[in-house]
Symmetry: C2
Subunit: 225 residues, 2 copies
DNA sequence: GATTTTTCTCTGGTATACAAAAAACCAGAT
DNA sequence: ATCTGGTTTTTTGTATACCAGAGAAAAATC
């Protein structure tokens, strides 16, 4: 029966709570949480009003965000964007290192030449002249490793954790001298993956990421009390 | 004023959505999801009615459970307990291996003699006569490793992932011959941690857990379509 | 004026009512 | 008997209304 037209499923996921969740999540992640004069309070009612809807779907979105540790709902007091402590962030980086390291290990021996080249292109090119460009490329490099693991769960959980780290990472990362070190690290990692050395690749990635942990601990600017 | 009755604080973290969340979560995790005649549907109203409350807090609990991947809320169709595919479970075990391996690595060099003994007690004693006892001890052993890492995030995320694996693990684990292998693995792991060999401990834990992955893939009884 | 008590407001928590979409049902035509 | 089409029922999504606790402001007390 190949004659029938075979249309796509057309899954209409048009629920408000879903859209609000995404909007709020993005807004929170892009906000400079650690700046002094940022209002960390979220008001259900105000949000609902601004979006022209009722509180119910907003609340459901907030519950979800709380479950992802991005906000904190204090009963009968208020909803607040969570500002992670240096310890929490550092620990999250450790988890991230664990996951990323496993991803690199898995990537070995199952990547095409083409994929390695993509990875190299992202991670090794010199971006030191521009801090933002470097930062972006850095993220992409680590994302790509997760992807090359071909393990969807690893990728998904890795990205979730990264989302929690990201605001703090932006806060701490201000030192351009780190760039060159990072690029040479990346080159080594690419090399290990390409030459199918899982143990080495895993170790390199782990140490590379744990270096970020040390760095964050060292340069953390304690803006909050 | 010692004359007044001075009651206890009555720790009132008593929000319904929180309690419902916990109740439902436990119920779902203990349920044999993979059995043929298990009703995978959850009815908001029925749950609310059974608990004698309104739908609202039930829904918020459900949103949270969905965010944890334990259930799926299909818009305007219904709420269903999620039955993970073998591939998803296997991938989750890989993530778990990554985290647990890092935990073992961190545990090295920061555990007391006492803690090592606790770990040994849990993981090495012969429990092969009783499958359930063995299974329970096995879980405890891995929990303990997460704990000894002294990294709260590692522990928390590790346990979250384990919760997602657990139903499938129970489903697949039926082979008692695995027990002795497991115990000797555990002994080696304890030994590596005790003698402060991070690299070795990490490798042992990883391979031990990845063996579970292979095992699950092999013995998976495909009860669903 | 300082401290305690009271009140009042603000905010999230819960219940209920209504709307909309999917699924089940049913009757008539073929 | 089966298919088709509309209709009813069921179930979720959203809106609204009300409740209760926490904290601030105001009032009373010393």
């Amino acid at each position: 029966m190949d004659a029938s037209i075979n249309l796509e499923p057309l899954r209409q996921t048009f629920t408000l709570k879903e859209r609000i969740y995404q909007v709020l999540r993005e807004a929170i992640l892009e906000m400079d949480v650690y700046s002094k004069n940022t209002d960390l309070r979220l008001d259900e009612r105000k949000i609902a009003q601004q979006l022209g809807i009722s509180r119910t779907p907003v609340r459901e979105a907030l519950v979800r965000l709380e479950n992802e540790n991005l906000i904190e709902i204090k009963s009968r007091i208020g909803v607040f964007i969570k500002k992670r402590s240096i310890d929490e962030v550092a620990e999250l980086v450790v988890v991230w290192a664990a996951i990323e390291s496993m991803a690199a290990r898995l990537a070995c021996g199952q990547v095409s030449q083409e994929e390695v080249e993509e990875l190299e292109l992202i991670g090794v090119k010199d971006t030191s002249e521009n801090q933002d460009v470097y930062s972006e490329a850095n993220i992409m490099f680590h994302r790509k490793i997760l992807e090359l693991s071909k393990c969807n769960m690893l990728k998904k959980i890795g990205e979730d954790i990264f989302a929690q780290i990201e605001p703090a990472r932006r806060h701490a990362m201000r030192d351009p001298t780190r760039t060159e070190q990072s690029i040479s690290d990346h080159a080594e990692i690419v090399n290990a993956i390409q030459s199918n050395q899982p143990e080495k690749a895993a170790n390199l990635v782990r140490e590379h990421t744990l270096r970020l942990e040390k760095y964050i601990r060292k340069t953390w600017k304690n803006l909050d009390t």
